[in-house]
Symmetry: C2
Subunit: 243 residues, 2 copies
DNA sequence: GCAAAAGTGTTAATTTTACACCCATGA
DNA sequence: TCATGGGTGTAAAATTAACACTTTTGC
């Protein structure tokens, strides 16, 4: 990562990414636990390089955290309150971690970076839909762990991230019917049942099997492939793939 | 307006406003013509004060240009390409206006402001819906005129504004069915026919009168008021108002 | 053959569309 | 009383929802 300065990055602008995955009939979100005393959970943020398109920046940040390319991304909202929750939180964090990390602020470099980092920020929210199996979350210097958390069990998040998460979830629910993007939560090939289970999970309601199948096929975005023999003693379902 | 500096405003972030109005069965957009040699048309942009919420900034910019408060605003997209069309355009503009405006760059203040102004920008797009009759556009030091232009006749715009305008129009068309916001283009009290004409204008298609009435009333967002005697020799239509 | 689950089809319910009819208004 | 356009109701069409029937799979 380049040095945090106005020369390298656009100041006072962050990209906040809400990364959704799906497993065991649960919608999950990737949270990082901060490498500081206390239980602090965060979303994945980054900054925009001076020479870089906004969408490129979002992709780069996502790739850094998840380790793979071609992620489905959707920009959903900009957050820009002037209450500097960011600085409040970070000041308190540094304070309570002073004994171990006292060097953090004494070095000139870090002191400049800290000032840069704690200014009031505009944050641009993106959500990402990924196939969990293809993601291998990567730690940064600031987090001690990075884990998938079911959306019903998301703990309190730091700074303004609670709001970002809630808005991302709302955006996902309204987008999914028009943008046909739920398939991005699945592997390349999938059965109709898997699609239905995702929809049922996201909307927290059940759909009639036969009608659901019609509705999805009428979207005309899937192609039918070979059958998948599951070993179960029943008819084998067809596999589908995005056209 | 405060001096353009990092101290007063968030650097490299602009708010671009697309202001829609409606008149004579036409959807119009408010454009400003720049006070420079040549025919240059622009949308309405502004910057975010350091102590100001993002939405407040958008409101302020809109109020400055239109002269009234309580404008219906919707944030629709962020634009962030790194190609600096902004600087390219402004350099060329200054160049071609050099003889008259040579002082512009020689004063230290302006030179600083110019450097600030021509950096690479992230721009946050908002669209506004207003009752044209209540708007009295106000000139800034940079525009020679500010006028309503039917959306079919919008000329080429400077910088990246063509894209912003097109995206705003697309956002308006997709929003209007869910957000019930078309009424903001009309005066406080209006007839059903006026609503229908707005819809027909925006979607460029006709609706059956009786079915349209049902659809709008089923939204359950309007209250019926007294009749309006128009003087026409036919039944007087009811007036409606947003609940 | 049987149970389980997937694929397909059929009918009922609901919503949308088209259109007809009646009513108020001013000449 | 007539022409005009607004308000309301009704029948047809289309879409959606509910559910039944058939097929495939492994034991």
């Amino acid at each position: 990562m380049d040095v945090l300065s106005d020369k390298n990055y656009i100041p006072q602008v962050a990209i906040d990414c809400v990364i959704f995955g799906y497993e065991n009939r649960q919608l999950k979100v990737l949270l990082s636990k901060l490498a500081f005393k206390g239980n602090f959970y965060a979303l994945h943020s980054g900054f925009i390089k001076q020479e870089e398109d906004l969408d490129e920046a979002a992709k780069r940040i996502l790739e850094d955290r998840t380790g793979f390319q071609d992620i489905y991304l959707e920009q959903f909202k900009v957050f820009g309150r002037a209450d500097n929750k960011r600085k409040q939180f970070l000041d308190a964090l540094i304070q309570s971690n002073y004994s171990e990390d006292r060097k953090f602020l004494t070095e000139t470099n870090n002191s400049n970076a800290y000032a840069w980092f704690t200014k009031r920020f505009i944050s641009i929210g993106y959500y990402a839909l990924v196939d969990m199996k293809r993601v291998s979350p990567k730690l940064t210097q600031f987090d001690v762990s990075i884990d998938w958390c079911p959306i019903q069990e998301v703990p309190e998040l730091i700074m303004h991230y609670d709001e970002v998460f809630q808005e991302a979830l709302a955006a996902l629910r309204t987008d999914i019917d028009h943008k046909f993007n739920a398939f991005n939560l699945l592997p390349e090939k999938f059965t109709m049942k898997e699609v239905q289970q995702i929809y049922e999970t996201i909307f927290e309601k059940e759909f009639t099997r036969s009608n659901f199948q019609k509705k999805i096929l009428d979207m005309d975005v899937l192609e039918r492939l070979e059958k998948r023999l599951t070993g179960a003693k029943n008819k084998a379902p067809y596999l589908y793939r995005l056209k």
